[in-house]
Symmetry: D2
Subunit: 267 residues, 4 copies
């Protein structure tokens, strides 16, 4: 068996960070070498995630952790505010960044790509690590070429603030880019109760359902003559992103430059 990949987790005390710590501790092909977090300094990373103590203590100082423990990969689920600095720091120390934060500008990504090229290492910035969700979006975009009539229904927990969801808007953009121009529905259609037909996007509709008990679900429905095609993805918990994180950690070991978007790993 090949040697385990050495991983530093940044934002270890956050909701996604904790899942990543769990993943790394439980996967024999990965080794936790550092856990960075502002609020849980001094806590054992294992204890933090309700696993046995692992001997790695959460530290607030990222640079020291990178220098001291020489990770192969840094996984960062922090905030848009700190993500650029963290990423740049990792690359500077030759550590491959896997970043699950949004908010990078195109210029920042280009700059980070140059830095990765200079250091001859790989990196990934991805707003979504869910393999299933990415497949759903790819398939939806592909189907729209042949079955242009489509609507999206996305369902999330009832405390979610924004509607429609980011994933549904991203899906809608991909569909719009692939299908012929089309304004669906009866031009004389009338809403007896306002909003019934959902959010209008580029000729079609997005519907946002909000119910307790649901984590994240999305269904893209294509309607054709005498048929319908549905592509549906259900995430039941945050852990659903972990297989994607692991795949990313492995992939960044094998190329040079900064990639934006997990979908580049999926053909």
């Amino acid at each position: 068996m090949s040697k385990a990949i050495r991983v530093a987790v940044v934002g270890a005390g956050g909701r996604m960070g904790k899942e990543v710590v769990k993943l790394v501790l439980q996967d024999p092909e990965l080794e936790l070498v550092a856990a960075v977090g502002l609020h849980d300094s001094g806590t054992d990373a294992g204890t933090l995630v309700a696993l046995p103590a692992c001997g790695i203590t959460v530290t607030p100082d990222l640079e020291m952790a990178l220098v001291e423990h020489k990770p192969d990969v840094m996984v960062d689920f922090t905030t848009p505010q700190s993500a650029y600095t963290n990423t740049s720091l990792a690359v500077k120390h030759g550590v491959r960044p896997v970043i699950g934060t949004t908010g990078f500008t195109p210029e920042q990504i280009e700059e980070l790509d140059k830095q990765c090229q200079t250091r001859a290492i790989g990196g990934l910035i991805a707003p979504n690590f869910s393999i299933g969700a990415i497949l759903m979006m790819k398939f939806a975009a592909q189907a729209a070429k042949y079955l242009p009539h489509v609507e999206i229904i996305e369902t999330h927990g009832d405390q979610k603030l924004d509607a429609p969801s980011g994933t549904s808007i991203k899906t809608a953009e991909m569909i719009a880019a692939n299908r012929e121009e089309l304004r669906q529905g009866n031009p004389k259609e009338e809403e007896i109760i306002e909003g019934a037909r959902g959010a209008y996007y580029n000729g079609f509709r997005i519907h946002s359902v909000r119910l307790p008990g649901v984590f994240a679900q999305q269904e893209v429905i294509f309607g054709g003559y005498g048929q319908s095609l549905k592509i549906r993805h259900d995430s039941y918990e945050r852990a659903a992103y972990m297989p994607g994180v692991k795949m990313a950690v492995e992939k960044v070991m094998g190329y040079t430059g900064m990639i934006y978007g997990f979908d580049h790993f999926i053909d």
Copy 2:
């Protein structure tokens, strides 16, 4: 075997009327004795529905048909304009009316009930003959007592004019009558694209999907702590109403008075 029930079909040339003619011709427990229609006068009723000729010719004169052929039951899928007159005429001649038309006033129904009582015959007026749809509504109303968080998604063909559908509004009324007062969702929720959260009804939402290839579908989704319950009804074609029509034809033979709503036949 008991004798077949003698049926007159009114509106025989309409879309629903044709289905009823087919039903009656193909069911050995029913016998077509008259077919009434304004536009297909003189056509054999079998030919009209792409079945072998049956010897019953479409006639425009309802009263003459009732007097001459003495049906047990008259099934009428015509228009709100003619339905009251037709119903009253049937009762006058001792023929039990089964009416699939909306638009009766409460006073008209009361008056027709009196006429039925006088003639000691049964009658039914029902806006919906779909057994599955009625079960869906009953179950949704019942579930709302225990799982008050709910949304409705209804899907119809893309040329439908009104949204939300009549069935979804009726379902929403039944839910609202059964559940505790509740305004669902995050009070600070924001629609990034207007309409995303659907039509607001009594604290919950109705979403109307319109796609080609679909006849009529509705899903009522209840969300609870860690669980969801879905009740879904799909109609694939107009014929889906026929088992309900047959059940009605049999039922009206057995009671006295005018009943409004097919759900009275379902406990």
Copy 3:
């Protein structure tokens, strides 16, 4: 506000027991007064479930806990082996039992009912506390009267040992008790690959899907002329049973005698 109901949790260290401890600690209408468990003796019950310490320590001795802390209700998710003894003990001390364990004989239930009557307290034994699942079963049984053609698809995690699931068999029994005798399908039907048509039960079929990521799902599908009706329940996690447990804890305060089956609380 009325006083909180005093609850003792037995089997506090088990998977369901932990959920009950969490429920009781987090619900202001309930008060944890004792936590009984064989393996976690001495641990604070809050710590046990990753909540702040609550001052109630897990103890191995049920009787002492009942005598000392005088709970109103005992919630027991243990094993068929210990459940009868625990229940009997609770009733003896005037504590209302809410039991989530199977394996009671009819004689035992009758005996426990007598004991409850004598002490003038209520009790509940229920193999299933999921309100959604119970509604699904009730609706399925009701629909089978009108739409006798039915199949069941149940989906569970891929490590489940038995197929079909207990819930699906219970549902099938309830359907069979309600519908007319009917052997579905084409009598000349042939399985090209053995098992394709699923498990045969009383004229219809049950299909068991096993996939990772799924907790517990079941769909009952009725097929009629031109229509289908689907009743589907998804549980996403063990916590889905807790609203049912809470309802039971409240209900047992209000009647006398031992009730078997949560469905008695649902009309």
Copy 4:
């Protein structure tokens, strides 16, 4: 507008043939120039499909129809027995064949390809013309690379003889060809009722549901860590194949040689 494509329909009186006649008569980009059928000789093709008479009479003689009316394309939904002869005849007369019949041997297809090459015309033999079904199969095969845990549920009318369906077996083959070797489920799994776990194929399961009212549905479910991905196709009626037939008629005008399988038109 470009000139309409001249189409001959063979098997015009069959169930699929009638749909093709309807399609060609109703689509302004297609022109019906001949209708060939053994049983409806002499009937007007329009009348045959309940449309206004169109002046094209059904004839039993294919060769004469080809010679006399010089169609651009021949659409043939007949039987495996006659399909090879018909196809060969069409090519001989420079008419592009679009064939919806199974049962060709690889040698026959190769021979027909040569004939097409010689005449410099295109042709298509396809067992399935449903664009949605083909997309479903392609997506399922693609997803299996990333989410290898999968089961298939297919639903057809209750009078279907064989289970699992041809489409589900084809889907299963495509999945098996794409995913890593994997025997799913718990090795100690036990069927309490025989058949519950469905048909075993290459490590995974296929379930066949049979219910009245359903035409053809299939759902492929992938289960991953904390997530599931579902790809579902519903056909509501035979007409669902017609957009695929039209696409084929247009496509064969633009290439040379015989193509096997509609999926070659979908990238």
